[in-house]
């Protein structure tokens, strides 16, 4: 692998292509689209956490003037449970068809039971009220402990665990060595149990779509998602319309963080549009987003770590229970698979349990499951290091996974950058700086590490040279993290032209080849592979064209600085032929210049990060604030450093919210009590310090530019880093999130702490 180091555009903070549109309000988000004759769709949602639906009578709603169509679960394609899984990515269509519209049972407050399209939003809302649903209200449970009680109401009666009906709908384990033997070697063993609350991705743009179904069945979807192909496939499955008839056009996206990797509205709007013959627009309210779309899991984790006196971890055991919500599918893979991965632990058992309960179905959230697991593991490691009187970073270094370490989830690591992240954290100005005087407030410092798998998968790209010699690149992934800017840098670098001459757009499902959704930190990794190969094909064509004009061998032509040159004086004396000149001559020289490549990309390397966090606690009010934060990460190669830092800072901001204030609060009736941004407290700008980033670049040898995914790792260590810092400040440990002011005060006033082992 020859890594080019004197790059012109790779590694530059080029101007982002979507910036101007976004700051001037020109960007078209899903809710900005309109069509002549458009009508409005609204969803009737279950008020109950758990209820059997005996019958639904829509006749009154249908008679209301202005109502054009009503749909219920009868209109949605059924995927019978007994016929087995029908997977689309990580989603089972059996659960998806029941999540977009309740069938026999409503499983959470907010679960759709019917949808109406009418000439105005107000009429559609009014019509929803006229739908009569006969519910048999059932007992319910939301919290993991409640859902696991022997007499807990069972959400899915068909599901058995240990031979009995159960809300445990899945289990996985990763195993290495023998933990029983391992713990016997330990001089010190610490075991702790932690809980976290469900938290929402908190994207600012609510789910929205506009859908038109023509009389011939041709369907057009404008919607905001992390994958237009996912939207097309799920809509096809749930409505029965073939994929070839559905054109899903990705709108500019106002945040997703994993939460827009599944559909809620599109199948309903499609069916309403088909029934009514009119384009149907649906836009969720914030309240609907908070009640009915996927937050991530609440959790209960128990982590036990054993180490020898000299600081070697000899055994570890993690048990992670994650709330799946109404249907199976919590991110236990991330929790059980990532949490111990930064460490070389000879004896390890990591188990994940998927638990259904009566709240909305989880959706992916940035490194799904990994932050939950890392929170528990990294807090216990902090305690072990303290008990061993070791610096927490030295303790991590001593146990760090390196090239050749076998991870419990399978792979033997190639060259990885974990050690470098710890070393960079250790030698950072932040770690060396004194904490300073809090002026009456208590200060503390904490550290934590984290890992995320990262992903490759299917990507398609088409690169075309325009008639005037510029470049248009079409890729298939909604850009939520800077992929357009990164692709422009790479393409400009390869072609040797100014990045402003490369225009990168996201194609719709009928104009670009299949591309898997934007998730798993895969997009720049995968799409730069197909763009690189496409561009290399184009360069080959350009060399052949120049060779033809010069009447020399193509091998005697080199491509440099945006033009064809004779490879050496031996090849002949010719003036360079620029991209513009070759584009102009294209019609006569064999036709348009362009190339497309489609691949199932392989070779994504996992990512590691190590964070340092300083907090200041106002002990009388219980307010903990992060006053300094440094995120160190092995980013492979920072194609666009500004965007990479943005990813790191964004992940940290979300983690600080998760650690300190964000949580779903439920009423006694089992409904979300804080379904809005006033009482669901994500951090605002003034809550956060400037987040410092240290990018460690250990290039991925299996990628043409050395790219590793960077978008998810930065959320993984945060809650543990904050919790460890608060411990350092207060001398008391929290075993539950969020560490919100009332809880901090309660902890400080409590006489006892969780008993040491």
């Amino acid at each position: 692998m020859n890594l080019v180091t004197n790059n012109k555009w790779i590694g530059q903070r080029t101007i982002r292509p979507d910036g101007m549109d976004k700051v001037t309000g020109r960007a078209q988000f899903a809710a900005d689209t309109t069509m002549p004759g458009m009508i409005w769709g609204k969803v009737l949602r279950s008020p109950h956490p758990h209820a059997r639906i005996r019958s639904i009578d829509t006749s009154k709603a249908e008679k209301l003037p202005g109502v054009k169509a009503v749909v219920t679960s009868k209109d949605i394609v059924d995927f019978p449970i007994e016929k087995g899984a029908v997977m689309l990515g990580i989603q089972d269509m059996r659960w998806m068809c029941r999540n977009v519209m309740a069938r026999d049972k409503a499983l959470f407050p907010g679960h759709p039971v019917a949808a109406v399209a009418a000439t105005t939003e107000a009429i559609a809302e009014e019509a929803c009220k006229l739908i009569e649903v006969d519910y048999e209200v059932l007992p319910w449970s939301i919290e993991i402990d409640d859902a696991l009680k022997p007499d807990a109401p069972i959400l899915h009666e068909f599901n058995k665990f240990d031979g009995k009906p159960s809300n445990i709908v899945g289990r996985l384990e990763h195993k290495k060595g023998d933990i029983e033997q391992g713990f016997k070697q330990a001089d010190i063993v610490i075991e702790r149990t932690f809980t976290t609350r469900p938290v929402h991705q908190g994207y600012i743009e609510p789910h929205a779509c506009l859908i038109s179904v023509a009389p011939d069945g041709k369907t057009t979807i404008w919607s905001s998602s992390q994958g237009q192909f996912m939207v097309r496939a799920m809509t096809a499955y749930l409505t029965g319309i073939p994929q070839s008839d559905i054109r899903a056009i990705p709108a500019e996206i106002g945040g997703g963080f994993g939460g827009k990797t599944i559909v809620y509205l599109e199948p309903l709007a499609t069916l309403l549009a088909k029934k009514s013959g009119r384009p149907v627009k649906m836009v969720m309210t914030r309240e609907e987003v908070m009640r009915a779309t996927g937050p991530t899991s609440g959790s209960k984790s128990t982590v036990k770590v054993g180490a020898t006196k000299d600081g070697r971890i000899v055994a570890a055991h993690g048990t992670f229970y994650l709330q799946a919500g109404a249907f199976p599918g919590s991110p236990i893979r991330g929790a059980a698979g990532c949490s111990f991965t930064p460490y070389d632990i000879p004896n390890l058992l990591s188990e994940g349990y998927d638990v259904c309960s009566n709240r909305s179905k989880v959706a992916a959230y940035r490194a799904p499951g990994a932050p939950i697991g890392a929170y528990a593991v990294e807090c216990v490691l902090d305690e072990v290091a303290e008990a061993l009187k070791m610096d927490p970073l030295d303790f991590r270094l001593k146990n760090a996974a390196r090239e050749g370490t076998k991870a419990a989830h399978g792979p033997v690591f190639p060259r990885i950058g974990y050690v470098e992240t710890v070393e960079a954290a250790k030698s950072s100005p932040h770690y060396a700086a004194p904490l300073g005087d809090g002026n009456g407030k208590l200060r503390g410092r904490g550290t934590a590490s984290g890992f995320w798998f990262n992903a490759g998968g299917e990507s398609s790209a088409q690169v075309n040279i325009t008639e005037d010699g510029n470049v248009v690149v079409t890729t298939g992934h909604p850009d939520i993290g800077g992929s357009r800017a990164g692709i422009a840098n790479i393409c400009a670098e390869l072609l040797g032209i100014d990045y402003r001459r490369v225009s990168v757009i996201i194609g719709d499902t009928q104009t670009v080849g299949f591309s898997n959704l934007t998730g798993g930190s895969r997009v720049l990794f995968a799409s730069s592979m197909v763009v690189t190969q496409s561009t290399e094909k184009i360069i080959q064509t350009l060399r052949e064209r120049a060779a033809k004009i010069w009447e020399i061998d193509p091998e005697a032509v080199k491509w440099e600085n945006g033009a064809a040159h004779p490879a050496s004086p031996n090849a002949g004396q010719f003036e360079p032929l620029t991209l513009e000149e070759l584009a102009e001559k294209a019609p006569a020289m064999g036709g348009p210049i362009g190339a497309g490549v489609q691949l199932n990309t392989q070779g994504a390397d996992g990512g590691f990060g190590t964070h340092v966090c300083d907090v200041e606690v106002d002990v009388d009010l219980g307010i903990a604030r992060v006053i300094r934060y440094t995120a160190v990460q092995d980013v492979g190669r920072a194609i666009h450093p500004g965007y990479v830092e943005g990813q790191l800072q964004g992940g940290v901001a979300q983690g600080i919210g998760w650690a300190l204030n964000e949580e779903y609060i439920y009423t006694k009736e089992g409904k979300v009590d804080n379904p809005g941004f006033l009482d669901y407290r994500m951090p605002v700008c003034s809550d956060l310090p400037m987040i410092d980033c240290i990018m460690v670049e250990i290039p991925n040898p299996k990628h043409p530019q050395g790219v590793k995914g960077v978008g998810e790792v930065p959320l993984v260590p945060v809650m543990a880093a904050v919790a460890n810092a608060i411990y350092d400040a207060l001398g008391k440990r929290f075993y539950a999130l969020p560490m919100s002011p009332p809880k901090v005060v309660e902890m400080l006033e409590a006489p006892t702490r969780q008993a040491a082992e």
């Binding site: 009429i123 309240e287 307010i623 204030n661 009590d673 009482d679 005060v745 309660e746």
Partner: protein
């Protein structure tokens, strides 16, 4: 679908007439930063909206003959901040009003709306209570005055009679050595709602408190005037014992609820903590001026 009529009269008499005539279907619109939010979320569906921002008396800030201030009920936070002297005399009231929302919200939101919205957590209300503000209201039966603390009746309710409009707040003249302060506890740094709010107004002479008033928000169904806390401060030099006594009086006055914003125990504790901190700021301001 229900129709919505929007009226924007130029005089108070017209406004009172229209408001009274429309009865319970009508709502007064000042900045709209509560009203429009409530309408959008479907909590309220008024048939008539009476916008009071065109009425000169409701948007005026005047210095009264005795040296006090009269602030129109619909004066926005930004307009109050831009007044030349108000913030020097009543820094606590001003900081409370200016804490409401963001810059954008400040361009609209009024102290009148904050009070009439009836939220026990309204930020300007404890500061107004501490300031000893008197409100003027006008209704079909003419004008009357009320103490500001008598306006709220409970969450979302006021003691204004049908058809009555809040006209202005009158703040008394300030003896030398006086100042005030307002602090609120919120989990975030801004864009949040008070879990506890505390306003303190003090007059000091030679280091001793000669007059004091304390207002507490978000700890009971209505904003409270805490006379016991004021008594503990008056005559003291704000020594630890006096502050502790005033803090306990605040904690004792609390009748909070456990809700998504805070627990009973937490609010009771914080009320005392804020009293101490707010009194210290007010005292510092009061003595600085001498």
């Amino acid at each position: 679908m229900t129709e919505l009529r929007y009226l924007a009269p130029d005089t108070l008499d017209e406004a009172v007439g229209a408001f009274a005539k429309a009865g319970s279907a009508a709502r007064i619109l000042a900045g709209g930063t509560d009203l429009l939010v409530q309408m959008r979320s479907g909590v309220l569906k008024p048939g008539v909206i009476v916008d009071i921002k065109r009425i000169p008396e409701l948007t005026a800030i005047e210095q009264t003959a005795d040296g006090g201030f009269r602030i129109g009920a619909a004066v926005s936070g930004m307009a109050l901040a831009e007044h030349e002297t108000f913030g020097k005399v009543w820094p606590g009231v001003l900081e409370a009003v200016n804490l409401i929302g963001s810059k954008q919200v400040q361009g609209r939101a009024s102290a009148g709306g904050n009070l009439c919205n009836g939220s026990p957590a309204g930020d300007s209300v404890p500061a107004m209570v501490a300031a000893g503000a008197i409100v003027t209201v006008q209704g079909p039966n003419g004008r009357r005055e009320m103490k500001v603390e008598d306006v709220p009746a409970g969450p979302g309710r006021t003691n204004l009679k049908p058809g009555e409009i809040l006209v202005s707040f009158t703040l008394p003249p300030r003896p030398p050595g006086s100042s005030d302060a307002y602090l609120r506890m919120i989990p975030r740094t801004e864009m949040d709602i008070a879990v506890v709010g505390c306003g303190v107004s003090l007059t000091m002479k030679d280091g001793t408190v000669t007059a004091a008033r304390v207002g507490l928000g978000a700890v009971a169904p209505t904003v409270l005037l805490v006379e016991d806390a004021a008594k503990a401060l008056i005559g003291s030099k704000l020594d630890d014992a006096a502050l502790a006594k005033a803090a306990s009086a605040c904690s004792a006055a609390c009748r909070p609820i456990d809700d998504k914003r805070g627990t009973i125990a937490y609010r009771i504790k914080v009320a005392g903590v804020l009293l101490k901190r707010t009194a210290a700021i007010a005292a510092q301001r009061a003595t600085q001026k001498n």
